[in-house]
Symmetry: C2
Subunit: 291 residues, 2 copies
């Protein structure tokens, strides 16, 4: 990790998954810390956007030596308007400067030209992200534009919220569930964007609290990197995450937000976050055989 | 419409659909103009964001007396970074100042707190939108936060792109398609947010090029206002839009972007847009019995 100030990820078309998994290996932990700055939990005083900026940078400094990547929750920044979007942009740049792979959690989902514009918003400009979360419900023409520039996309396949079952677990006439149909589409599209590691630039978001689903989705999507939210505060644990990995503990990245960035502890807020990130990486790294 | 500078929509929890349909009736046309400013089609010279701002305001001035509402494509503004987001914010305000109902086409889709943040981003601040397009794939907990503040949401139920069938038309074990399952969820959730007109603050996006689907979706969702994209440039016409309406020509709003904002014509660009908006409103208004 370190602070070399260089791009963590090469610019080859299919190298983006290789780079993410390389970063995981170097760190010895398939984990990601989510930055979800919420006004009433920010330390310090002053204007919310200023506190959000200081907090975001403080989190990055605290976690950079313990984890390979961060996930930046666009909603938290957007809610503070144009100034918030500016802080998000700066935060993406600061994360990249610290050698972290950056997943922008924007869950964008549109087709054709609009998808191309969202891709440009995420992946160009002064501070581009490496990956963007996307919603694949619109279909292939809502997915391909996000992969055109050599960047990566994590398609929302299975969410871990209580209401997620209503659509995602509906049974299909030819077997399986709606999330399986989405997974099959993701696997098919992603096969055109494989890196040297065999993993695709098109990954999948699969919630950690859907244990039985995870094993089936892993079977349908052997070449997708799984981004696995739900660890910690959302109730996901070892049971939920292990089926998301391939044998050997590869192919998935577990992400935690609140449990790492708002931890209990007796030190300063940054010391507490650093310790929470260290423990999170150690726990998941050990569980998955990386340590 | 006029330029009264007041909020087009009252602040009651369920009044948002009533207000939209009232605006349609006053105008005599269930139509919406989409603002999708794309750099290489902007008139004038200078910095892209400045031209985008001038174009956006120019379109609003040209269409305000002919249509009841506008749809602002977030992606087009976001791709110009923080400055673009600023122009979008100004454009929303300018549209409201001109008495137009504003649909922000952001297709946001997340759950819990993140959805709450996206709702705050769209519906609070100096220049709030009236409606936001959302992606309902995450389920009920990804929809309710957008309805909590008395605003409206159009859930993406059926898209009109070629790839839209792969997931949306997959057949379910208990009959119907995936888009029908989404529609049933939208209808159920929306029933708690009905206005005096009988229409819900939770509407549905249904593409104009899915004629057979539209009739079935209309049956499943009798209380949803349909936002119907695909008119004009995307190939949708009278055949596609009529099944989206209820008897009497109510309950839907047809939206056109490129065919109105980049029209052919012999006048100035603003005169051409004004004439295209007038013809669009007249055509759809007549087709649906409003004129």
């Amino acid at each position: 990790m370190g602070d070399q100030g260089t791009r963590a990820v090469p610019t080859g078309t299919e190298g983006i998954a290789d780079s993410l998994l390389d970063a995981v290996e170097r760190c010895g932990a398939p984990v990601c810390v989510g930055l979800d700055p919420v006004e009433d939990r920010l330390p310090g005083s002053g204007k919310p956007v200023e506190r959000m900026r200081a907090f975001s940078f403080g989190v990055l400094d605290a976690v950079a030596e313990h984890v390979p990547c961060v996930k930046i929750q666009s909603a938290c920044y957007e809610r503070h308007g144009v100034a918030g979007c500016g802080v998000m942009d700066e935060t993406i740049g600061a994360a990249r400067d610290r050698g972290l792979v950056v997943i922008l959690d924007g869950k964008r989902g549109d087709i054709g030209l609009s998808a191309t514009h969202y891709a440009a918003a995420a992946f160009t400009g002064d501070h581009p992200a490496d990956w963007l979360t996307i919603n694949p419900y619109p279909g292939e023409d809502g997915v391909l534009p996000f992969l055109a520039g050599g960047n990566g996309a994590f398609a929302i396949v299975r969410t871990s919220n209580p209401g997620g079952d209503e659509v995602q677990s509906a049974l299909l006439a030819d077997g399986g569930t709606v999330s399986h149909a989405v997974a099959r589409m993701v696997a098919r599209i992603g096969d055109a964007f494989l890196g040297a590691s065999g993993f695709s630039a098109l990954g999948a978001v699969v919630g950690a609290t859907c244990r039985s689903d995870a094993a089936e989705l892993r079977e349908i999507m052997p070449r997708q990197v799984f981004l696995v939210p739900g660890w910690g505060a959302q109730g996901g644990g070892a049971d939920g995450i292990l089926p998301c990995f391939l044998p050997g503990g590869t192919g998935a990245v577990v992400t935690a937000s609140r449990s790492v960035i708002y931890p209990d502890g007796t030190g300063s807020w940054q010391e507490n976050i650093q310790e929470a990130a260290r423990q999170f990486a150690d726990h998941v790294g050990t569980l998955t055989g990386h340590r």
